[in-house]
């Protein structure tokens, strides 16, 4: 049972996703209950798997009985176990939000579960080509979900996302070709061994493969200047989808990037080819600064949050590229913490918009007294994102900075510290409007959002999701030692300590 868990995690949501799609021919009401049951099962399995990994080490499974390195291998270690659990829990949480916020259709929940399957697959796979397939499954489901908005602008945003995302994934595929030509294998562990034996890290073939694969994945992570799909997609998608994909899609792509760095190219590659590390660190730093600068200049709150993601993922990638144990722990903590915080922030914007019609920074003025609970949660999540202790945002950034100091990488330290200030710049502006400015919107929203007949725009579930996300943003700090223990067995071999 335990060794089958990785594959069950992928298969369960695919099967679950087929049911609402088939049932939608008869009724659209089946979607939510089926998705909830499936994801409860998913969360239990992911929890069991994470617990197994943290107590008895890596779990691996040979798909179809073909032994690695010839067959596809699924490998779950501390890092992927934590991300798989995050995917299961966050997608279950967002469902509570979707109950009222919609869209209420069978195909929507089919796509939703397909996205969970794709994300989990990217997390557990130990094969670079399999990763490409799951990357595209994730992409296809995400394009469909973004386009599920009522407005036709959602279709435009989805098409833009599709074209840019496909080029990114295709570049990654081209990189696999170069890697296959260099080594003749696709299994991650085998690739690392073969690349090490060849001792040709600086050969043109390997360098090109690195450039193409990392370049392709940074499109999916949405680092500056490859982020252009992201603000449109997040702002035009339905609120449920914004909360879901902003929390998970880029997160899992960043995890895949880390997996590629540590499990395929390894730290020796980064040491042997300093230019690769510098390019990645440089890209991350540019992303941190440019993302924050763009976020400050936004008027729409959702677009501001989207640009904030560009900046925060710069931080995460910088942590991975520095590749000291502390920096990697910090990057992982920030990766997981960011998912909860950003998902919660998008959910909060959805609630505030439904209650008051406010969508812009100026519109948020005075909302602190009008919608106290969502506004308070929004403020807590904002401050957590800035990195005010004891929130989880602080712990992640603290470890990344400590890692950069240990590596004596002073320019990065400077950028990281400046990034906190920049994050404060755009979030403080909002929190100030929420509580200390005169309200600019007094009327009820003109267009009452479509409800499921209960007569209210915002359900208890939606508020609960926002409040729980805010609570988690603070409480997760307590779970950081657990995560560190989980990563303790995983990281040293990856980082060659």
């Amino acid at each position: 049972m335990i060794e089958q868990l990785p594959v069950l995690l992928v298969v369960l949501p695919i099967i679950g996703g087929a049911i609402p799609l088939a049932a939608s021919l008869v009724s659209d009401r089946a979607g939510w209950p089926v998705a909830t049951l499936t994801l409860i099962g998913q969360a239990v399995l992911a929890g069991l798997l994470a617990w197994t990994v943290s107590t008895s080490g890596t779990v691996s499974y040979a798909v179809g009985g073909f032994a690695a390195p010839y067959g596809i291998e699924l490998v779950v270690d501390g890092l992927s176990g934590a991300v798989a659990l995050l995917v299961a829990v966050v997608s279950l949480g967002v469902l509570a939000y979707a109950r009222q916020a919609g869209p209420h259709s069978g195909p929507f929940y089919g796509l939703y579960l397909l996205l969970v399957a794709g994300l989990t697959g990217m997390t557990v796979t130990g094969d670079v080509f399999n990763l490409y397939v799951f990357l595209e499954i994730t992409g296809l489901a995400a394009y469909g979900l973004v386009a599920s908005g009522r407005d036709a602008s959602a279709a435009v945003a989805a098409l833009k996302y599709l074209i840019i995302g496909t080029v990114g994934a295709s570049l990654y595929l081209l990189g696999i070709g170069y890697l296959l030509a260099a080594t003749g294998t696709l299994n991650m562990a085998d690739l690392a061994t073969k690349l090490g034996e060849m001792a040709a890290y600086d050969s043109t073939l390997v360098l090109t493969a690195f450039g193409l694969m990392v370049g392709g994945l940074t499109v999916k992570v949405a680092l500056f200047p490859l982020h252009t799909w992201q603000p449109d997609a997040y702002a035009n998608a339905p609120d449920t989808v914004s909360a879901f994909i902003s929390a998970l899609v880029s997160t899992v792509s960043a995890y895949a990037l880390a997996r590629l760095l540590f499990s395929v190219f390894t730290v020796e590659f980064l040491t042997a080819v300093p230019v690769a590390r510098w390019a990645l660190v440089g890209l991350a730093c540019v992303s941190i600064i440019a993302g924050s600068a763009l976020a400050v200049s936004q008027d729409s709150v959702q677009r501001m949050l989207a640009y904030s993601s560009v900046s925060q993922f710069g931080l995460v990638v910088a942590g991975f590229a520095i590749a000291t144990p502390l920096a990697v722990v910090g990057a992982t903590v920030h990766l997981l913490g960011h998912a909860v915080m950003k998902g919660g922030l998008f959910a909060a914007t959805g609630v505030i918009e439904r209650e008051t019609g406010a969508t812009t920074v100026n519109g948020y003025a005075g909302m602190g007294s009008r919608v106290p609970l969502p506004a308070f949660s929004f403020a807590v999540l904002s401050l957590a994102m800035v990195g005010v202790p004891p929130a989880v945002g602080f712990v992640g950034k603290w470890y990344i900075v400590l890692g950069a100091v240990n590596a004596e990488n002073w320019p990065v330290v400077a950028v990281l510290l400046a990034s906190t200030l920049l994050t404060l710049a755009y979030f403080a502006r909002l929190v100030e409007r929420l509580y200390f400015a005169e309200a600019t919107i007094h009327s009820e929203p003109d267009e009452v959002p479509v409800t499921d007949g209960s007569g209210q725009a915002v359900s208890f579930g939606m508020i609960a999701v926002v409040v729980i996300a805010a609570a988690l943003a603070v409480a997760l700090t307590a779970a950081v030692p657990e995560l560190q223990a989980m990563l303790e067995d995983t990281l040293p071999p990856l980082l060659n300590q």
Binding site: F129, Y132, V133, E136, G139, L140, Y143, G144, A147, A152, S153, A155, V156, A158, L159, L162, I163, T166, V167, S170, L173, L174, I176, G177, L180, A181, L186
Partner: protein
């Protein structure tokens, strides 16, 4: 130069396809042509993989006595999967374009931008 062209013409075709595809994707104003460009770009990658598998004097990988040497079947299988992915992407892209066309009545990127930001 001619020697290189003669022995590596597949790779030149790959570069040409990648270049044409990417250029169309970026430069064409028509959304459908953009998707065609995306397909050409992907086809270039498919050809690259198939070329990788080539081996002079190799036989199809059906194991029999005295049948070797064989060409590598792995890239073929990978590309079979990638083609399926490419078809699904094209389908989703065209579905989105139909929705855009029914709503905005245009496939031109510039006109769409004007309508989109109004």
């Amino acid at each position: 130069m001619f020697e290189l062209l003669n022995s590596h013409y597949n790779y030149f075709a790959v570069m040409l396809l990648l270049g044409i595809g990417l250029y169309m994707l970026i430069e064409s104003k028509n959304l459908v042509k953009k998707v065609i460009g995306m397909n050409i770009f992907q086809t270039g990658i498919f050809l690259f993989f198939i070329t990788l598998a080539f081996r002079a004097g190799g036989n199809p990988p059906i194991i029999k006595e005295g049948g070797g040497p064989y060409v590598s079947p792995l890239p073929h299988v990978l590309i079979l999967t990638a083609i399926v992915v490419g078809v699904s992407l094209t389908a989703v892209a065209l579905a989105l374009i139909i929705r855009i066309y029914t709503e905005y009545g245009t496939l031109d990127e510039d006109k769409l931008k004007q309508l989109y930001y109004d």
